[in-house]
Symmetry: D2
Subunit: 184 residues, 4 copies
Amino acid sequence: MGKISFSLILALAVVTVGTTSEKKCVLSGMWKNELHSLMEIHDVNDEGEFSGEYLTSVTATSNCIRRSPLKGAQHDVERRAQPTFGFTVNWEPFSNSTTIFVGQCFLDEKGKEILETVWLLREQVDSPGEDWKATRVGTNIFTRKRNAMRGKILQDHSPPCEAPAPTALGTRPPAPRLPSPPRL
Amino acid sequence: MGKISFSLILALAVVTVGTTSEKKCVLSGMWKNELHSLMEIHDVNDEGEFSGEYLTSVTATSNCIRRSPLKGAQHDVERRAQPTFGFTVNWEPFSNSTTIFVGQCFLDEKGKEILETVWLLREQVDSPGEDWKATRVGTNIFTRKRNAMRGKILQDHSPPCEAPAPTALGTRPPAPRLPSPPRL
Amino acid sequence: MGKISFSLILALAVVTVGTTSEKKCVLSGMWKNELHSLMEIHDVNDEGEFSGEYLTSVTATSNCIRRSPLKGAQHDVERRAQPTFGFTVNWEPFSNSTTIFVGQCFLDEKGKEILETVWLLREQVDSPGEDWKATRVGTNIFTRKRNAMRGKILQDHSPPCEAPAPTALGTRPPAPRLPSPPRL
Amino acid sequence: MGKISFSLILALAVVTVGTTSEKKCVLSGMWKNELHSLMEIHDVNDEGEFSGEYLTSVTATSNCIRRSPLKGAQHDVERRAQPTFGFTVNWEPFSNSTTIFVGQCFLDEKGKEILETVWLLREQVDSPGEDWKATRVGTNIFTRKRNAMRGKILQDHSPPCEAPAPTALGTRPPAPRLPSPPRL
């Protein structure tokens, strides 16, 4: 009996260790940011590469949310619990712009995941002489969207977009409503 | 005679259009920046996606140049001559950091290509409380490396890296020598 | 009677003008950010120039909060209600670094003021060859600190700093705990 | 003996010159950047504070160069040869925007001074909901403008500006031609 209980304890210990070490910050799944933009990241492969979709509302006046493909990579989650990552969002065809995000996936004390990111939004300009004004910068925080059925929610949040995308900033290509600090 | 001259004009117009539309800024190939870092971008697929390799010298004291995979996307070059693009460089395994570049491919008057980029370098930190200090920013200009045989040059420029990668900035993970403005 | 109604109209007009012109976003006063850093901005002069003090906790382990001088300028608040502004914080003598903030002072629907800022933190490096890694970027949101007696609170929040400032990031000069997105 | 003492004096002189690592990077004076923008920085006071003027050409089509006041601070040059600095440029009255620069003053091997800077350009937007798109980022390198008579050159380079400043980017306030990487 002494042996059995000892084995049991051992087994429990192993399970506990397993559970603990399993608590990694995984990018896959649905995320939302402060501006209610949505992002779905598909499975991350062995090289840390992933693809997904970014859903952004173009302007406050448009209810049309558009899906754009994203591609990126995160560091090996086997070797660290809170990996850094980066990805590119290509706004084709409704914008000439490109956005990149870089960040880190954190676990807070309760195991809740949070993505702290900084982004650059690059507009297309006509010539190198206008290059200086082409890049915007900002930050964005994502939290996991609960109760989200994979693949399903993206369609639910993508109303038909018959109307042409309104431009937000004069001659600028349709401005993806990207990132923004939380407010008010 | 009326017909002939009309055909001639038409033919000339076609040739002109052809020549004009051919001169696009294509990302594929070998590029170098102001710090003599090298980058090879493979073929861009129909969705504008590409992969490649980034060769950066880690520190001034190390002669060991390391290859890191890059993944990204550019806008459809069929629809514009000077597309914007973005890509992620994953410094695994010799660093916890991730770098993203965003930029535009320009053609100058002589048809010479130039990549104007802005980048963010994200370090791994221990907790959200240290997140504020994790992101660096800078710019980088790439020009095409002439006389570069694809695939070949990357190996030539990658000496064996037996020694452990020296860290450049205290506790920071090995600092990729990324980008830097031209100088002196 | 004609006189009376005319006076009434005049009085209403004055009230309206008064109400309108009064609700401006003024920088002067005490502000706090998400990380509980404090900032006091003195009176803004006619050219929009101002000075003040920034109180930042250097590291999480140090309770010593340090006051650093700040200098900047905002746009003419007579001509616009929500002006942009910028200022420089000089961390001398406890750091070689310099931080700059740029932002805009907003009024929400209830008239509450909020400062949305982006900052750059510049470290001192040894040579131009290390310049590429010298600049960090991030965002910061300030709200007005209520019930703050001018000049008084800064002293209350500045405990004596006998101990040398601990460095936060390896060889880096003492890292001012600057800005950070709100979290958790 | 005469010879010996002479040699001694010579040796001392050499030592003094050597110690005259007094060669410090001083901000005061005239500077130009890659885009031929000009900047004059007045005397730096004991606290490291300085003021000056920034001359920028608004757009490529306008020959009218405008002077804007700048205010900032650099670190104590007595304690270090290559100090960091920061300053704010207020584009009032011809723009609602504010620009901040942060950088370091370097001395190369020949003692030539170079200012490596990163900047943020903040536009005025209408509400916090538009804050995310308000900030641009870029880099700029300044070198000392030789043969510049103080105060004189600023006037010479400031042609009369009768015409209203053209806007560079749609609804954006007149875009100061700020910073830009060297090119072509």
